[in-house]
């Protein structure tokens, strides 16, 4: 079991190393090596899972193994793995969804010149993610946290010759780095308190054990928790560090599915769940977390209303769903958050891969253009509104299923997990609950808009043109079908039991009531219907035809001015500082200090070199005269004594 875990840890790394070394010129071999590696990881995870229950029954704690990496004073810094229910759940998601995305990519990225580089980066990413998930201490989790940042940078900027892609990569890297600084400060401050009181450790289990023994003032505890939470804010793209995720859609679509829907953004949620025992020590920090989640859910969902890029809509939807998870964790309900994370990983990966399948065929990401193309071809073929379902049945049906799962229509998986979160929120502040409930409506609305425009376009078209829409081949459709099945039945998996491991829930018991269920289902249905009715016959955008909607639409299109605010901040603050620093460097450092010292040496040298006449007897004279003077002085001093 332990050996298998180590193998799970390192197989993707081996693939990531072997591909650039040996398979650079053999892309097909590279892709199957990477895909096979992740698939083996997944099978090993299933094996570990099958053994874990009996291990847990015998020991009543998770499996931990570590090597001491270095010893700082009396504090060991470990490199190890820690397996418990939470870890296993994340392992299943990362390797399971990961292998489907790898399989999808083998076909989707087929003609790309960077095919083997793509798989090397993807393997590196999976390795880093597994490192976070398996880690048993703060230092290791931070290292892999950064590695995830690096590999996401590589993958977002995968098409680096495109200006937007490389900029998006940088933006993702730098934005998450802002959060990472907070996380590092949190780790160090926590360690500082522990070390000062003789419990110095980075190990999660020891921290949990010793937390009641260590005396930390509540203000400091809040600061530490906020710091750690900042790391999660960056990685899980919560307000105000969410700006990188929509831009990250510049990466290849399977990358968006893997990183920006199913795994990387889950790292922040995972961190919150893993360290929930620390966060629970500070009610203020928990309130901040819950509110951040609620606000993110609402803001992102409203921005998604006006997006036209299919991937951007899904990206904002991801933000919004992540907000739900953070909200649940902020209410100390880790099992609801992790439950939603799992089902979300299924249906959001499904939606992203479905979007990839559509983009692969339509060669555009704009939903309006997709709708126009479907309409034109339907007209050409003399078919009606449901034309796409006959031409791309797998993509269309699975995408629709993912849409309903995301909206929370029973009995699909999203319904159950969202219900848990709403139930948790109903115990929190009322405003927070209504934020979450309103988001249900918005989610249904923007997904309804997307589905109506692309899949049910109105039956009239401006001109007849055939685009030859067709279904994709099996590496694309098979992952869609598997994910669709998971999205449909994911709600029945014993995910909460796996996370809780027989403990009772930290949060107060609150079975989801019938009223809540009716509320959420009717909100979702209302949202979808409203969108369908508004957009089914519309060829121009709603906001440009209804005058009173233009001002709010502009705010939404500008994404609440976050990007503009940051740009302004950078121009006013950072750029001025950079210019001043540049001037200091150019004049004070280079001109005065470096060139200046050189000039002084040269000046002195010019004077001193005149002494070097090159006439040998001059040297002999100086030598003799010097010796004479020294002997004279020695004799004088001897005589004086």
């Amino acid at each position: 079991m332990l050996t298998a875990s180590w193998f799970i840890f390192f197989i993707p790394l081996i693939a990531a190393i072997l591909i650039p070394l040996f398979f650079h010129k053999r892309p097909a071999a590279a892709s199957w090596l990477a895909t096979g590696g992740v698939l083996i990881c997944f099978l090993l995870t299933l094996f570990v899972l099958s053994r874990y229950q009996s291990f847990y029954d015998a020991n009543h704690h998770g499996l931990e193994a570590s090597l001491v990496w270095m010893q700082i004073g009396s504090v060991p810094v470990e490199f190890g793995i820690y397996l418990n229910g939470l870890t296993l759940l994340m392992l299943l998601i990362v390797t399971g969804v990961g292998s489907l995305v790898f399989l999808f990519s083998t076909s989707y990225m087929k003609s790309d010149p960077g095919y083997s580089r793509y798989f090397a980066c993807l393997s590196l990413f999976v390795f880093s993610m597994l490192g976070i998930v398996l880690s048993n201490n703060m230092i290791q989790i931070f290292i892999f946290w950064e590695l995830v940042g690096l590999s996401s940078y590589l993958l977002i900027g995968f098409w680096f010759e495109k200006e937007e892609a490389s900029t998006a990569g940088k933006k993702a890297f730098i934005t998450t780095r802002v959060g990472d600084i907070g996380m590092m400060l949190g780790i160090l401050a926590l360690f500082g308190f522990f070390h000062a009181q003789g419990h110095g450790t980075f190990n999660f289990a020891s921290i949990e054990q010793n937390l009641p023994l260590v005396n930390i003032s509540s203000a400091w505890m809040t600061a530490i928790c906020i710091g750690l939470f900042l790391g999660a804010v960056g990685k899980s793209a919560q307000v105000p560090l969410h700006v990188w995720l929509p831009d990250a859609m510049e990466g290849p679509t399977p990358v968006s599915a893997l990183i920006h829907a199913a795994t990387m953004v889950a790292a922040g949620i995972f961190l919150l769940a893993r360290l929930l025992f620390i966060f629970e020590a500070s009610p203020d920090a928990m309130a901040v977390i819950a509110w951040t989640g609620g606000i993110t859910a609402m803001l992102a969902a409203s921005i998604a209303l006006v997006q036209n890029d299919i991937k951007k809509i899904l990206a904002y939807s991801t933000l919004s769903q992540l907000g739900y998870m953070v909200l649940a964790l902020g209410l100390a309900n880790a099992e609801a958050g992790m439950f939603h994370l799992t089902t979300h990983a299924f249906f959001k990966a499904l939606l992203f891969l479905g979007a990839g399948s559509l983009i692969h065929v339509f060669h555009t990401q704009d939903i309006r253009q997709m709708g126009v193309m479907v309409r034109e071809e339907a007209k050409h073929e003399g078919k009606g509104r449901f034309y796409l379902f006959s031409r791309m049945p797998v993509t269309a049906w699975t995408f629709l299923l993912g849409t309903f799962a995301l909206m929370g229509i029973p009995p699909l998986s999203g319904y159950f997990s969202k219900e848990e979160i709403l139930a948790a929120a109903s115990n929190g502040p009322a405003l927070l609950f209504w934020l979450a409930a309103a988001t249900v409506f918005l989610t249904a609305f923007y997904m309804g808009r997307l589905a109506t425009i692309v899949f049910f376009p109105a039956g009239r078209a401006s001109e007849d043109r055939s685009h030859h829409l067709h279904e994709n081949n099996w590496p694309i459709t098979v992952p869609l079908i598997i994910l669709a099945v998971l999205s449909a039945f994911g709600g029945f998996f014993p995910i909460k039991a796996l996370v809780l491991e027989g403990h009772s829930s930290h949060a107060a018991g609150h079975p989801s009531s019938a009223g809540l269920a009716i509320l959420s289902i009717s909100l979702a249905a209302a949202g979808f219907l409203a969108a369908f009715l508004l957009y089914r016959n519309r060829t121009i955008s709603l906001t440009s035809s209804v005058h009173s909607l233009q001002a709010p639409a502009r705010v939404l299109e500008k994404k609440y001015f976050f990007d503009d605010a940051y740009d302004g901040l950078i121009q006013c603050g950072q750029e001025k500082i950079a210019r001043a620093a540049d001037r200091i460097e150019r004049y004070a450092v280079v001109e005065w200090t470096i060139n200046g010292s050189g000039r002084i040496v040269r000046y002195i040298g010019n004077i001193v070199r005149k002494l070097q006449t090159g006439v040998i007897q001059f040297y002999a004279f100086v030598f003799a005269a010097g010796t004479t003077v020294i002997i004279y002085l020695v004799l004088i001093s001897g005589a004086l004594k």
Partner: protein
């Protein structure tokens, strides 16, 4: 009676002659010669000291100095020959390679 002081005075006179030759002469060969004179002045004082104390240490050192002087002359003359070939002169005023 010739005392140790006489030897030492002679040695000092010889050394001064050698030193002045070294500083004032411009011919490399004569400079080498002056160095030999200085070395022998030193040898004389060593031997005189040896005789004064009745021990052989000074004499042994003098023999060492002679051997080293022989070696030094070999190298010095070789350099002088090479200098002459290169510069067509053994005048030290014209040998100023080290001028800064």
């Amino acid at each position: 009676m010739i005392t140790a002081a006489h030897y030492l005075i002679l040695s000092g006179v010889l050394f001064t002659i050698g030193l002045l030759g070294l500083l004032l002469r411009r011919n490399v060969l004569l400079i080498l010669l002056s160095i030999e004179i200085m070395l022998n002045a030193a040898n004389l004082s060593l031997v005189a000291g040896s005789a004064l104390h009745g021990e052989v240490d000074g004499q042994v050192t003098a023999f060492f100095v002679m051997v080293i002087a022989a070696a030094e002359v070999t190298i010095g003359l070789a350099i002088a020959v090479l200098l002459f070939r290169k510069q067509d002169s053994v005048d030290t005023n014209q040998i100023t390679f080290l001028q800064g």
